[in-house]
Amino acid sequence: MTTLLKEPKAKKLGLKERYAHLTRGLGWETTYQPMSKVFPFADYEGIKIHDWDAWEDPFRLTMDAYWKYQAEKERKLYAVIDSFAQNNGQMNITDARYINAIKIFLTGVSPLEYMAHRGYAQVGRHFVGAGPRVACQMQAIDELRHAQTQIHTISHYNKFFDGLHDSRHMHDRVWYLSVPKSFFDDAASAGPFEFLTAISFSFEYVLTNLLFVPFMSGAAFNGDMATVTFGFSAQSDESRHMTLGLEIIKFMLEQDEGNVPIVQKWIDKWFWRGYRLLTIVAMMMDYMLPKRVMSWAEAWEMYFEEAGGALFKDLARYGIREPKYADVARKEKGRLSHEAWCTFYNYTHAAAFHTWVPKEEELAWLSEKYPDTFDKLYRPRFEYWQKQQEAGKRFYNNSLPQLCTVCQVPMLFTEPDDPTKICFRRAEHKGETYHFCSDGCCDIFKDEPEKYIQSWLPVHQIFQGNCGGATIPDVLAWYHLNNGVDNLDYQGSPDQQLWDAWMKDRGKAGG
């Protein structure tokens, strides 16, 4: 009798099994060298991990799926970029003033994507467990993709508009760009657990929605197909990064009770650091989108107060509370964007983008969205500046601003309970005096003064003679900023002349 022996057909593995195969059993206890030498950064921050295998990636993204879907995203994005260029998409935006927000994005945000790539590659090397290492390595690749696609997309605008020609160089030198640069350098010079709390949790999970969701929706509303597409292409990765952010926090909190106060301290610090960084996004939303989707205050309510409120309620079971000074952020939401825009209006002669007094209908929108603050505190100065400009005396601030030692933003913020008084805070350390914009920044300094006494404050660096010379034109040349072209008011700028010529031709094209 012959028996036909047939191999049983292998059952297809479920997602959970496939993911387990990807992330388990890849690591081993080393024997030639002690583990502490192979992973030298795993312990020094004080975080205790007892079981790295307890890590779960909620999306369980496997490598084959990762390559497949990332490739699909790239194909879609580059088809749009080609189409945008072929169809002269630059002419279909609402108004060339809008491009100034993209200039800030390219010089302030895209270099951070690259820094994030480096940061996650580093953490992906230094974590002991295979699960979080795989997640960090995927994110490192994503972040590099974000930097590249943003540069590719925005390069189309560089063919026509000013201030986009040397973003990487500017990021390292221009005064207001020291705010995002120092933010990321602070995170990248911390250990792997603080880095993930800073970037994955506080920044990606709690705060980046405010940049990528309502602002990108605003880009769509203003006809900027290119930016919307890279924005959402990046944001689809971002959702995965957000889950990593929440997962790492829960993982640390579940592994050891002793981790709770350390994590809370980092959440407090990085909420405040990230929130101060978003000051510029507040201004981009309220002042730089010719057609507006929602105000900064509304976005803050939707994405921090509501979504963040739910998040911190969920984390309460671990003993984690809402970040310290979230109440201050709540008090500042009616003034943040106005104080920031006025600052750049003061100093746009030293910036790689243009500013302007909002048009009448835009002032009306601001009055409507900010009924408690705008007409009383901010409208009068805009009306005065408008009159001065019409008289040929456009206001520029001739002196350099005092900066906060921690966030490096000019000391533009007002007292939490009095929007008419500048908020001054100070601390002494080893006989030196340091100044801060807020209790949040002052606390961060006092916790690690040795770190922030090294702050490269652009105004002080100019005074020390490290920025190309003593006059504004010297410094602008050192920034690679074309004086009279990239800077100053939008009125009379080459950008405006180009745009007005396009719009005039558009009228003629009918014949």
């Binding site: 999306f59 769509a220 829960k250 969920d314």
Partner: protein, 90 residues
């Protein structure tokens, strides 16, 4: 009261189909539309079911394809072959 979980999708063909599937499976969900995106909020818990998305799309669907349509989310995520659950534990 349960806190809202949330998912934000692109206003693309697939994004619209996923949104329709979510709304049919989660009666408590509410929708906010903004230029180029749709934000769905739901108290406590929200589920994306593979079979419902397939019904809407009229083709086979692998839930990992969600990566192509997703903009943002809020809540703890748990994914397997049949469904993605976004939930708060409290």
């Amino acid at each position: 009261m349960a806190q809202n979980v949330s998912i934000t999708l692109q206003n693309t063909d697939e994004g619209r189909a996923i949104a329709a599937a979510i709304l049919s499976d989660n009666p408590a969900a509410t929708v906010a539309s903004m230029p180029s995106l749709t934000k769905i909020d739901c108290p406590g818990r929200l589920e994306i079911r593979r079979d419902s998305v397939e019904t809407q799309l009229g083709r086979d669907y692998d839930l990992q394809e969600l990566q192509l349509s997703l903009i943002s989310l809020a809540g703890n995520v748990d994914e397997d072959d049949e469904r993605i659950v976004i939930a708060w534990k409290n």
